[in-house]
Symmetry: C2
Subunit: 303 residues, 2 copies
């Protein structure tokens, strides 16, 4: 049976499979020197993940470009989607290192430093990051939009974004955080890159400033929701279904939404953020349907 255009689970699967091919194509080949580094880069990026960030790029691009998406916009969305997945992958590789979270398992496979070695894992992250910016710079759209895209991804990745969130997380272990501090940390650590994904889709599609504001509000809500749900799953799911070590944050005495609010109130907050995300999409009308489904996907997922 042929699926209808709004069959969301199928859309997600198709987008994930598509960005996998794009990444496979854009990552340097393992038979090209330095081969071991390239092999480790591919190991770290390919073969899995829900590709939520790539899906956000595509959904936001689709929401703002309408049905008239040109070939150039499609090609640019592919590069932007690959870029955010590269940044996400690099952050996981560095996060898993012994000096950070010291994790040995990721998506059910040995982490990069276990499979290769620590030095290679560090270089993998160091090489994936500029590749992300190179992909943005190669997007076949107006240079002024490319420059905006680079600005957005750079800010989201740096000390005012994801890396800053990591640093706050490091400093928070073993001491209490207020709800405001916890929220700031997560808005940076997880929210910044999710937000950049949404914004990049809008930029590539040439979104109006009204639509960009709608995307920003949406991104803010799903960014927090993502982390609240992560904290809930850390408590309620088991290691096998998560594909990473469950209960780890609680064991490390890291502050979480569940430790701060309790399970019930954390669930209520997730539901509230889901509603806020859908609400924010109103100015986009029907073309925001995919983004709305993505908000549900983020809140209702079980791993």
């Amino acid at each position: 049976m042929k699926a209808a255009p709004l069959d969301f689970p199928q859309w997600m699967r198709a987008r994930a499979a598509h960005v996998e091919l794009v990444l496979d194509d854009l990552l340097p080949a393992p038979d090209q020197a330095p081969g071991r580094l390239h092999e480790a880069m591919r190991y770290s990026v390919l073969g899995g993940g829900k590709r939520v960030r790539a899906a956000l790029v595509y959904a936001a691009g689709q929401a703002c470009a309408g049905s008239g998406n040109g070939v150039a916009v499609e090609a640019a969305l592919d590069r932007a989607a690959a870029a955010v997945e590269l940044i996400h992958a690099y952050s996981l590789v560095h996060d898993d290192l012994p000096c950070m979270d010291d994790d040995t398992l990721r998506r059910g496979r040995p982490t990069t430093h276990v499979r290769f070695d620590e030095a290679t894992a560090m270089l993998v992250g160091d090489a994936l990051q500029p590749l992300a910016f190179e992909l943005l710079a190669d997007m076949p759209i107006a240079p002024a939009l490319v420059v905006q895209a680079v600005q957005v991804l750079a800010r989201a990745s740096g000390s005012a974004g994801m890396t800053g969130g990591q640093a706050i997380d490091l400093d928070s272990v073993g001491r209490g955080l207020t709800r405001d501090e916890l929220q700031t940390m997560h808005l940076l650590k997880t929210g910044a890159l999710l937000g950049a994904s949404v914004a990049l889709g809008g930029i590539v599609a040439g979104a109006s400033s009204q639509h960009r504001r709608a995307l920003d509000d949406y991104a803010q809500a799903i960014g927090l929701a993502f982390q609240v749900v992560d904290d809930i799953l850390d408590v309620t799911a088991d290691t096998a279904s998560l594909g990473k070590t469950a209960g780890k944050d609680a064991a490390a005495d890291k502050p979480t939404y569940v430790s701060l609010l309790g399970l019930d109130e954390a669930r209520a907050l997730a539901a509230e953020l889901r509603a806020a995300a859908r609400q924010a999409l109103a100015p986009l009308g029907d073309s925001g349907a995919c983004l709305a489904e993505l908000a549900d996907f983020i809140v209702l997922r079980d791993r």
Copy 2:
């Protein structure tokens, strides 16, 4: 006594002092969260170094823009110069980590992971890299030139550039390299970022394609020369004057130009590359004087 415009040592000192102020201004403030990360970023970047890469940006910009440098070009050169220094600083911080070279001393001070901790040192590198791209994206010049600048810096930093050179270096310890392999490694490891510095100056100044080719040839020669001289100094200088551990490469059984060619032939190669660099500048005429002095500076330095 007022110095003449071509007093090169004074020009170098003035440029180094200037880019130090630019970096101080553009790095995030330590009283802004995450404070410890920002403090560590500033510790890693500020307070020293010869700033050869920044000088190359300025000298190439000056060579191609002539005396009519506008305010916008000056501001863009500042950002480009800061960007290459940030990439260089991040590479040193990650290089010094225990899983890489495990160095405790850099420019006569404790390395970042010794002064702070390993996790913070890793995040410092991870945050400096996107800041470099953010600075390029904020350059007040034509977006099409900004896009070219991002492409150049991204390629020079990634697995086809500096990080790729590091990976080859890692793999080379304890085994032999041919002269060709050694040259490839150094062209990536050191030459790529030096070359990007020269290219960025040309791009920002709107250099003609003839001048860009001249800059490329020049960059190729000084990139190799820089590493040949580094290898010579590793053998002939002492730790105090180097500000880092002398004899380290030889002790680690790393292939070097000296181990491969002997000291005399390595010195002859450096002299040859210096001549080639000056030769490449011919199309630039008198405005290439500063770049010519920089080639001398790189080859004739004693630390």
